[in-house]
């Protein structure tokens, strides 16, 4: 099965923006609530981490000020690129441009999130309310998609977008936070796990906290935790295979190699500097995967098609890769 290349790319981004919206809701919620019960001197470091995880500039701390509510609403509904509102708008825009691929129920859920989220009503909504709304709506969207969407290519690209975004974010969370996971600072490591919905899973699996590397093990290497990078990579590989990419395809090679590194690696053998290096490698490879995906499914077909029409190579639109 093939589909319109533009739609495939847009649906991949629908998946990414959906995942990003939900994660932003969760991370801001976790940070906001943690600071309600923390000494004031932790506020700056905590928000600094949050901004780094969410992809904001550190200068936001100065422009917005060290106010919990103000920072939260800046991240949620601030003007400009990168806020949760921005992600929701892009999610809805990409969906609207591809409505014919989405089940009507799913489109309505996405549109509903956008309708409820785009008009800020400070009287009834505080940071807590926004985050709850965002997470619940996003979970509704995911559930509706799962229950209504036929599993053809369109679904695959959407799923790939979600898994890819999630793997990138979990890697980012670990990179920003893992040096702070000291045994005697439980509010630090529990914050990280909460940001990835993994606190309960960690308690069940490790029963107590001895070693910061248990967090790396759960969030990077676990095959069972849905937000672990390894989990995402295994499912990415499956989806790519179902789209018809053979073993020689760049997407499969990039993701397969990365998968092997995580599957056969053991964080308990590594020291902190090696974990830092590993996280950088994972992020780099995930970005390469994105580039390979675009070249293989969104761009290259045009180039291949034109070549097969025996145009001179110099004339083809895609002569440069």
């Amino acid at each position: 099965m093939v589909m319109l290349a533009r739609s495939a790319e847009d649906l991949y981004w629908v998946g990414r923006y959906l995942e990003r919206s939900e994660q932003m809701g969760r991370i801001i919620d976790v940070i906001y609530h943690r600071l309600l019960e923390s000494p004031e001197d932790e506020r700056e470091a905590c928000w600094s981490d949050a901004l780094a995880m969410l992809g904001f500039e550190q200068s936001v701390l100065e422009t917005v000020g060290l106010d919990n509510e103000a920072l939260a609403s800046h991240c949620l509904a601030g003007a400009g690129d990168g806020s949760a509102l921005d992600a929701v708008q892009r999610l809805r825009f990409n969906s609207r441009g591809n409505r014919e691929h989405l089940p009507i129920e799913l489109w309505e859920e996405i549109n509903r999130l956008w309708l409820e989220f785009r008009i800020p009503d400070p009287d009834t909504m505080d940071a807590n309310g926004w985050c709850t709304l965002l997470r619940r709506r996003c979970q509704n969207i995911v559930g509706t998609a799962d229950a209504t969407w036929i599993r053809t290519d369109a679904w695959m690209y959407f799923t790939i977008g979600r898994l890819h975004e999630r793997a990138l974010l979990t890697t980012k969370v670990l990179a920003v936070r893992h040096r702070q996971h000291l045994k005697d600072r439980s509010h630090e490591w529990t914050t990280t796990l909460r940001c990835c919905s993994a606190l309960q899973a960690h308690r069940r699996q490790f029963a107590g906290y001895d070693d910061a590397r248990s967090i790396v093990s759960l969030l990077l290497h676990s095959e069972a935790a849905p937000r672990s990078v390894n989990f995402c990579i295994r499912h990415l590989e499956e989806s790519i295979t179902q789209l018809g990419a053979d073993v020689s395809a760049r997407t499969r090679r990039v993701i397969g190699r990365l998968g092997a590194t995580l599957r056969f690696g053991d964080p308990f053998e590594l020291g902190d500097p090696e974990i830092d290096a590993l996280l950088i490698e994972v992020e780099t490879e995930l970005r390469r995967f994105g580039a390979a995906l675009a070249a293989e499914f969104f761009l290259l077909p045009l180039e291949n098609g034109l070549r097969s029409l025996r145009l001179g190579a110099a004339d083809t639109i895609g002569a440069v890769e």
Binding site: S7, R96, E108, G244
Partner: protein
């Protein structure tokens, strides 16, 4: 719901639901009886629910000239318009007749040697001076002569209740999505109105359209031709309709950037390479469709599209150059076309039209400018229309200058007494002017979707029904031909006991 007749003003217009004596017409009796069982606040609440549903489902059009590209709904009035089977049977025949003649005319002009001109029926000058005439399309064949695969023929009823054709829309007539969505919303929220199931369905439009589009595919196309819908994109006012059409047909909705022409063949870019397209149902104007042939600065179209059509590898629907047949001056010749091509008399008459290029007509019109409606010949959507009785002296003086400068660009008609229909406004029934746009599909055979889009001028006293100018719509019911037993003493036989 309060009695329909209470406070309802007749004002001498033809009313669809009531006779001049204030009696409910037979085909409205059952509907109005059922409406009476619903209290006014409930009806208003249902209206709000429908509005919310349209917003939630994104059934909207975009208003131009607004930075945010605000999406608005097309307001739907809750009181359906009812057309009895016998009336519809006549309309259907008339619409098929007219569309057949218009298709024959276009095929004659572009691919048949323009016999109608050579035989002196229509002046050559009128054709070549039409803005919609595209010499670039001469010689391009369309299989089955299906140049207007989709035609929207605007009908009105005059003061005597006689149906007349107001204008033809043969380029990209829009509005059919509202016909289907209005019906769905009505059936979901006011199911009690439909209880005896005699209203003809409209939900199969997608299948009808797809089979018509496949029927005009090039001869070289495979058995199941690849059809796509071409849209200018998400910022277009009618984008929802484009999505609707692609979804209903189950085909790709593409933009110009998704398409490429090589060796006179049109391809769509897919994740698996280029895939051939046989029929493109385009919702882009001629001017923008192919920068090689028409506007070079257009980024909406596809370079080489016309060459693919000319080579017989692609059908563009509706065909390029159809605007010549919905030119409002050419309109006056449609009765002649019907006679010339079909040897028949018009079933649904035109509105009497003055061609301002004609010296006598022009002198007559200029002397009565304040009493007539003047329209530019190539505009759609009610733009540029001047209604004499409501225009200021300055507007009329300006118009006279414009007419003298370019008489070919205008036509004039008597002010029409558009029929009226009860609408739910401020919790009461009030009469508003309406028209009807049925959709006629041509392909292997010519078919009419039962009903069409009833547009309402929601502003009191207004005659302009266009969505871009404050119009709304109504669900339109064509009744099955199963005559109900006549109710005794003019009262409905059967009544629902409980109100909702």
């Amino acid at each position: 719901m309060a009695e329909l007749t209470a406070g309802y003003e007749h004002q001498g217009f033809f009313d669809e639901a009531l006779t001049a004596d204030g009696e409910v017409r037979p085909h409205y009796q059952q509907l109005l009886a059922r409406l009476e069982d619903i209290t006014a606040p409930n009806l208003v609440r249902t209206g709000t629910q429908i509005e919310d549903q349209f917003i939630r489902q994104g059934i909207t059009f975009t208003v131009y000239g607004d930075d945010d590209g605000v999406e608005r709904t097309f307001p739907m009035d809750l009181i359906p318009r009812v057309i009895p089977a016998s009336e519809w049977e006549m309309l259907e025949r008339g619409l098929i007749q007219r569309t057949t003649a218009l298709n024959a005319f276009l095929d004659d002009i572009y691919a048949g040697g323009a016999n109608i001109v050579n035989d002196g029926i229509i002046p050559r000058r009128l054709i070549v001076s039409s803005e919609g005439y595209r010499p670039e399309a001469v010689g391009i064949d369309v299989p089955a002569g299906g140049r207007c695969v989709v035609a929207g023929i605007d009908l009105i009823r005059d003061g005597d209740g006689i149906y007349r054709v107001l204008e033809d829309n043969l380029r990209s007539p829009s509005g059919v999505s509202y016909v289907v969505e209005n019906r769905q919303a009505m059936a979901r929220l006011l199911p009690q109105l439909f209880r005896d199931g005699r209203v003809r369905a409209v939900s199969n439009y997608g299948e009808l359209l797809l089979s018509s589009l496949r029927a005009v595919a090039p001869l070289s196309a495979p058995d199941t031709p690849n059809v796509v819908v071409l849209t200018p994109g998400v910022f277009n006012s009618a984008y929802f309709e484009h999505v609707f059409l692609a979804t209903q047909m189950g085909v790709d909705l593409v933009e110009g950037r998704d398409l490429v022409v090589e060796d006179h063949i049109l391809y769509v870019r897919t994740t698996g390479g280029l895939r051939r397209v046989d029929v493109v149902y385009r919702r882009i104007d001629d001017d923008f469709i192919d920068p090689v042939v028409f506007r070079a600065d257009s980024t909406l179209g596809v370079a080489g599209l016309m060459s693919a059509a000319r080579a017989g590898n692609l059908t563009i629907a509706n065909a390029v150059g159809n605007g010549v047949a919905d030119d409002k001056a050419v309109y006056a010749y449609v009765p002649d076309m019907v006679k010339y091509y079909l040897g028949e008399e018009m079933i649904i008459p035109n509105v009497d039209t003055y061609l301002l290029e004609d010296h006598e007509h022009r002198a007559h019109v200029l002397s009565r400018l304040g009493e007539l409606v003047v329209k530019p010949v190539a505009e759609a959507g009610g733009y540029g229309l001047v209604i004499g009785p409501t225009a200021t002296d300055q507007e009329l003086a300006d118009l006279a200058v414009k007419i003298e400068a370019d008489p070919r660009n205008f036509i004039a008609q008597e002010v029409l007494q558009l029929s009226r229909h009860p609408c739910l406004i401020d919790q009461t029934f009030q009469a508003r002017h309406i028209d009807l746009r049925p959709f006629v599909l041509s392909g292997a055979e010519t078919k009419v979707l039962p009903g069409g889009l009833t547009r309402v001028a929601l502003k009191k006293g207004s005659l302009v029904v266009n969505s871009s100018q404050g119009g709304g719509s109504k669900d339109t019911w064509i009744m099955e031909d199963r005559s109900p037993a006549p109710p005794p003493h003019g009262k409905p036989v059967h009544r629902e006991s409980e109100a909702i």
